[in-house]
Amino acid sequence: MNRRYLQLGLISGVLLALMVQFSIVSSETLDSSPSGDESERSSIATHGGDHPTLMSLIFSNSIDYAFPEPPPERSREYCEPIPRLCDWLAAHGALIDPLPETAKANGQASNGESKSAVGWQSASINALNQERSATPVALNVPSLSITADVAGVGIASDKSMQVPDDYNTVGWYRHGPAPGENGSSVIAGHLDDSRGRSVFYDLQDIETGEVVEIEFDDGTRSTFKVTDKRSYDAGNIPADRIFSRDGDPRLALITCGGRWDSSAGRYTETVVVYAEPV
């Protein structure tokens, strides 16, 4: 044990000696420069000065370290959505009203728990029926001369998405987001039907950058630009991606592709055109 301390002491002694020597050398080189007050210069040199000596590197950490400004004072409303932020602001004395008076009276001032720790609201059943946002009523793809009515659709008995039979109507999956809302808004149209070619017969010819226009029941319109076109095995579509209800607003236009599989009674592929708001 003692021997180890001795070794440590020796090594640090040697290091110290080296450092001192190095600073003397650097002060000497500085001293040899032609101008300036010598005494001041040597004192700067011993402390490292603006010369990158070993000493200056060691000291710079502590000398240049600036303590961060205390956070500006905030009211509790500012941090209410993030309880941890409230706790942090309170710990730095930056909360104008650290805890409600009643909580203080109850001896709760010292811990971070207060009513802001848990959010709550009215559970009135009358709040259930919210106003619905605008729903799509028409779709245009100028580059393909497609003009179609949009009908809200749901789920068929086999758990697939309903698609309107009418040859000039496409179906918007009404359980998912409307076009322009967060998530993937899905609009599907038939490739063909009993009469022959249907509304999305030409959809697979669409190119990236081409425009899709949506008209809503409140008279507003929005424009989307095609970003991608994919073809999936019809029995194994990435449903979670196509019907996602999170993320940036996007549009997924769907029709059939590939070849007709008469034994399965469907086309072999599902074509999905992805578009984003312009």
């Binding site: 409600p100 009643t102 909580a103 009276a105 109850n106 709760q108 811990n111 728990e113 207060s114 009513k115 720790a117 848990v118 959010g119 709550w120 609201q121 009215s122 559970a123 009135s124 059943i125 709040a127 259930l128 029926n129 919210q130 749901g154 789920i155 086999d158 758990k159 697939s160 998405m161 698609v163 359980h175 899905v186 599907a188 149209g189 038939h190 490739l191 063909d192 039907d193 009993s194 022959g196 070619r197 249907s198 017969y201 019809a234 579509i237 449903a239 979670d240 196509i242 019907f243 209800r245 769907i254 029709t255 059939c256 070849r259 007709w260 008469s262 009674g265 469907r266 086309y267 599902t270």
Partner: protein, 267 residues
């Protein structure tokens, strides 16, 4: 005031609430939502001795709380009562990892304030459907729940629940005393959105005329459609039959042509 006296009669009531649920292996937290179903009195809720919900009003519901698994002591006092005073309602809840439960301050059938714990079904709902759960948490005898004019849940007693998955739509809901067809709540229309669980609490007291409905919603339980059948194959089959007709036509022309040629030869 009478409510306050009632609460005090429940003083010292200790319940141990085992929260049943399906534990998920990955997480060590459970999700707990607190519902205030005792009309007329604003309360302070203490969890493990800490004032966690201050001035919690009747008819209110907390955000879902993620709690580390373990046992939690819950004490409920009238708002502003000292923290060291005897609680009006006290109990403990064992939170297991992965559970999703609702703790409900409510009145028992005879009007005694109490705590009840219900496990919430957060399994995925079939695409196109919605989940409706009704919980009887009111000082009232057993009830029937009417949906679109039919008794859908029969003789639901205080502290019990019933749940069903139905197509997402607007439903007309009413509550009557069991075996009776006079509504004590509703009827009212409710738009039940797809992929969402709606948990409806009947709270209050029949005698006081304070019966009411509260709702807790759990979103994000939706599933996606499995496929998008957008073709009938008519153009595909029509294409091949067209080829057949063309081929047959061509064949006929060739045949008749050669027949004419033959005739000419023999003429």
């Amino acid at each position: 005031m009478s409510r306050a006296i009632r609460l005090i009669t429940a003083l010292g009531l200790i319940l141990t609430l085992g929260v049943a649920g399906v534990a998920s292996a990955s997480s060590h937290t459970g999700t707990v939502t607190v519902v205030h179903g005792v009309p007329g009195l604003t309360v302070d809720v203490y969890v493990n001795g800490d004032l966690t919900l201050e001035g919690f009003e009747p008819g209110a519901i907390t955000d879902p709380l993620e709690l580390e698994e373990g046992s939690y002591d819950i004490e409920i006092r009238a708002a502003g009562e000292p923290a060291d005073s005897d609680p009006a309602i006290a109990g403990s809840a064992d939170v297991l990892a992965g559970i999703n439960a609702s703790i409900v301050a409510h009145l028992t059938e005879d009007g005694t304030p109490s705590l009840a714990v219900f496990g919430n079904d957060v399994t995925t709902i079939n695409a196109g459907e919605t989940r409706l759960t009704v919980r009887h948490a009111a000082a009232a005898p057993a009830v029937d729940v009417w949906v679109d004019g039919d008794v859908t849940v029969e003789s639901l007693a205080n502290g019990s629940e019933a749940s069903l998955d139905v197509p997402a739509a607007t439903y007309n809901v009413a509550v009557s005393a069991a075996g009776d067809d006079t509504p004590v709540l509703g009827p009212a229309d409710f738009d039940l959105g797809e992929g969402t669980s709606y948990i409806v609490y009947a709270i209050g007291s029949l005698d006081d005329g304070s019966l009411d409905l509260l709702v807790q919603t759990i979103t994000g339980l939706h599933d996606a459609p499995t496929a998008v059948p957008a073709g009938t194959g008519s153009t595909a089959t029509q294409g091949s039959s067209l080829m057949l007709i063309l081929a047959a036509g061509l064949g006929a022309i060739v045949l008749s042509g050669s027949a004419i040629a033959l005739r000419r030869q023999f003429a």
